[in-house]
């Protein structure tokens, strides 16, 4: 087993696991005789990951908003400029949209709607894309100060980029 170095989410160890004729008792099978509903399991993960993506995006949005109101350029806060303010506005509603998609998927899973699997999948596709865009905007608003490690926005961009790569395997 080797721990792997990753670009983001470093607190969460990612390792390579080799299984070489490993014997385990039959009763260790997940879900017993019936096995587990892997599709439902995957959908639950997607809903949760979408919620996490909303959280990472929100962190970056809130931080960038605070910075933009304080950082002065050409005599006034950079948030006075539409180029910055419009980015923040869109970041804000995309955080909201990502959150609502995750909540709806989670609710569909709770009440066992037939479409829950598909909804959770679409939510994750959306969240994956948005979290990268939002955290990239967060970094951009801080400019050079966002690129250096004194501010957390570069960390959130690295963490946010991970979502699209989680669960790389085809499950259907």
């Amino acid at each position: 087993m080797n721990a792997r170095k990753t670009w983001g989410i470093k607190a969460f160890e990612t390792a390579e696991l080799k299984l070489d004729n490993l014997e385990i008792p039959a009763e260790n099978r997940l879900g017993g005789e019936a096995g587990c509903d892997f599709k439902r399991f995957a959908a639950l993960c997607w809903a949760a990951q979408t919620a996490m993506a909303a959280g990472v995006g929100r962190a970056s949005f809130e931080y960038a908003r605070g910075y933009a109101k304080e950082r002065v350029a050409f005599g006034e806060p950079i948030a006075h400029r539409q180029a910055i303010a419009f980015m923040l506005a869109e970041m804000c509603w995309e955080v909201d949209a990502t959150r609502l998609l995750s909540w709806e998927a989670a609710w569909e899973l709770d009440v066992k709607k037939p479409d829950a699997f598909k909804e959770a999948y679409l939510a994750k596709l959306y969240g994956d894309q948005q979290v990268v865009w939002i955290t990239d905007c967060g970094l951009q608003i801080l400019g050079g100060h966002g690129y250096i490690r004194e501010h957390p926005v570069e960390l959130w961009l690295r963490n946010g980029r991970g979502f699209a790569a989680f669960e790389g395997m085809a499950i259907v």
Binding site: K39, A42, R65, A68, K69, P77, A79, H80, Q82, A85, F86, L88, A89, E90, C92, W93, D96, A97, T98, L100, L101, W103, E104, W107, E108, V111, F117, K118, E119, Y121, L122, A123, L125, Y126, D128, Q129, A164, E167, G168, M169, A170, I171, V172
Partner: protein, 413 residues
């Protein structure tokens, strides 16, 4: 507990409207696009009779229901369903045909303004007509040749003269303007200034009855899409209306905020209508792909998706994201929660999303999508208006930005 289920009543209404939209609206959609400004009588009469039967409460304008602020003190706060029902309704009608939807006889934005900002007496006097007699239209006249989004720059004047107001000025881009002013016993809500020096505080809105002397439709615009809908230019020349036709408080103070508040109710409805057009495009693409034997593989790792699957799935996800923001803003209105930011956010988001979704649908179908054989190219043309009217995407983004930054117009222009 958070819930995303529509009440049974709204689900049934949605189903009924979908049948209507799929039948009669789709039947006339191309004809109405080719024959700009011509009314489809079958559609007009059918909708008018249906609305009268159901009561215009379907369009939030029966004048009878209490507004959140009018609930008695101590009465438990109820969450209504009026706005969410309306959002679902306009989505189905947009799915059928956005042009015919805009052209249908209804209280329209003028009626919505009376419902939202009118006194109980005004609501009774001006909204009752939409549930009786012959088909009628309501319209809202804000834009002028010299101002659009900057509605505080309005130059149309209303001068008090005894028991009347005398209105002078020119309005353009009035949706259903001809229907409201000349073709029916409808009404036009006109924005005008009562005191130019007072700036935005002097802007008030006035209800002008159909055929009032001095109100004249001078032109109908030719447009990219929504051609079934008449977009009128109207001139007001010494147009006299009763003093009691002023909407809301006649005093010159915080009036502008009052008229702007109308948008908090109407913007989610524009977004709702856009959702219908976007859904129509998406469903058409899905249908054609299915016919061609292409299956969407939901659940496949993103790196294994085809470019086409990725496009179609992202169209679907964008549509859902837009709908959730729209329903949230509508639900907030039903719960009596201030939704200024959410109303603008859902409108800006959906305007952008529908532009992308409907263009993508044309692109994915190639030459067939670009041709007039299908309705995809029409939906692309119809869809674009939703990124423009009732506040452009940029104006709505500006409103959201000011809200989240807690800025006024001096800090963020």
């Amino acid at each position: 507990m958070i819930e995303f289920e529509l009440p049974d009543g709204i689900k049934n209404l949605k189903k009924m409207l979908n049948g209507l939209a799929g039948g009669i609206m789709r039947k006339w959609a191309r004809w109405a696009d080719d024959n700009e400004h011509q009314r489809v009588d079958e559609w007009t009469n059918l909708m008018w009779n249906a609305m009268k039967g159901m009561g215009t409460s379907m369009f939030g304008a029966s004048g009878k229901e209490k507004k959140p602020g009018e609930q008695k003190e101590g009465e438990p706060k109820k969450i209504g369903t009026r706005n969410i029902q309306l959002a679902v309704t306009v989505e189905e009608l947009g799915w059928g045909d956005a042009g015919l939807y805009l052209a249908m006889p209804s209280p329209g934005l003028g009626g919505a303004a009376v419902a939202a900002a009118g006194t109980p007496e005004q609501r009774e006097r001006f909204l009752k007509r939409f549930s009786e007699g012959k088909p009628k239209w309501g319209a809202m006249a804000i834009t002028e040749p010299g101002c659009g989004s900057d509605s505080a720059a309005i130059t149309t004047t209303a001068v008090r003269d005894g028991d009347s107001w005398i209105i002078n000025g020119e309005k353009i881009f009035v949706t259903a303007g001809k229907g409201a002013a000349e073709d029916s016993e409808g009404l036009v809500v006109v924005w005008a200034t009562v005191d130019k020096k007072a700036g935005r505080a002097g802007i008030k809105s006035f209800i002008v009855d159909h055929h009032t002397p001095g109100m004249k439709v001078t032109k109908l615009e030719h447009k990219l899409g929504i051609r079934a809908s008449d977009t009128a230019a109207i001139i007001f020349e010494d147009c006299r209306v009763p003093f009691s036709n002023i909407l809301g408080d006649p005093e010159v103070k915080a009036g502008f905020k009052g008229v702007m508040a109308t948008f908090d109710a109407t913007r989610p409805m524009v977004a709702g209508n856009a959702l219908g057009i976007a859904r129509a495009s998406l469903e058409e693409v899905q249908r054609l792909l299915k016919e061609a034997g292409v299956e969407m593989r939901y659940g496949v790792a993103a790196n294994n998706l085809t470019a086409r699957e990725k496009d179609v799935m992202m169209m679907e996800a964008q549509l859902k994201a837009s709908r959730l923001l729209t329903w949230k803003a509508s639900w907030m209105a039903d719960a009596g929660i201030h939704n200024n930011m959410e109303a603008s956010a859902c409108k800006a988001k959906t305007g952008k999303a529908i532009t992308w979704i409907t263009q993508k649908a044309v692109e994915l179908m190639g030459p067939l999508g670009y041709s007039r054989k299908l309705l995809l190219e029409k939906w692309m043309r119809d869809g674009k208006i939703n990124d423009i009217f009732e506040g452009t995407g940029q104006i709505n983004t500006l409103i959201v930005a000011r809200r989240i930054l807690d800025y006024g117009r001096d800090e963020l222009k």
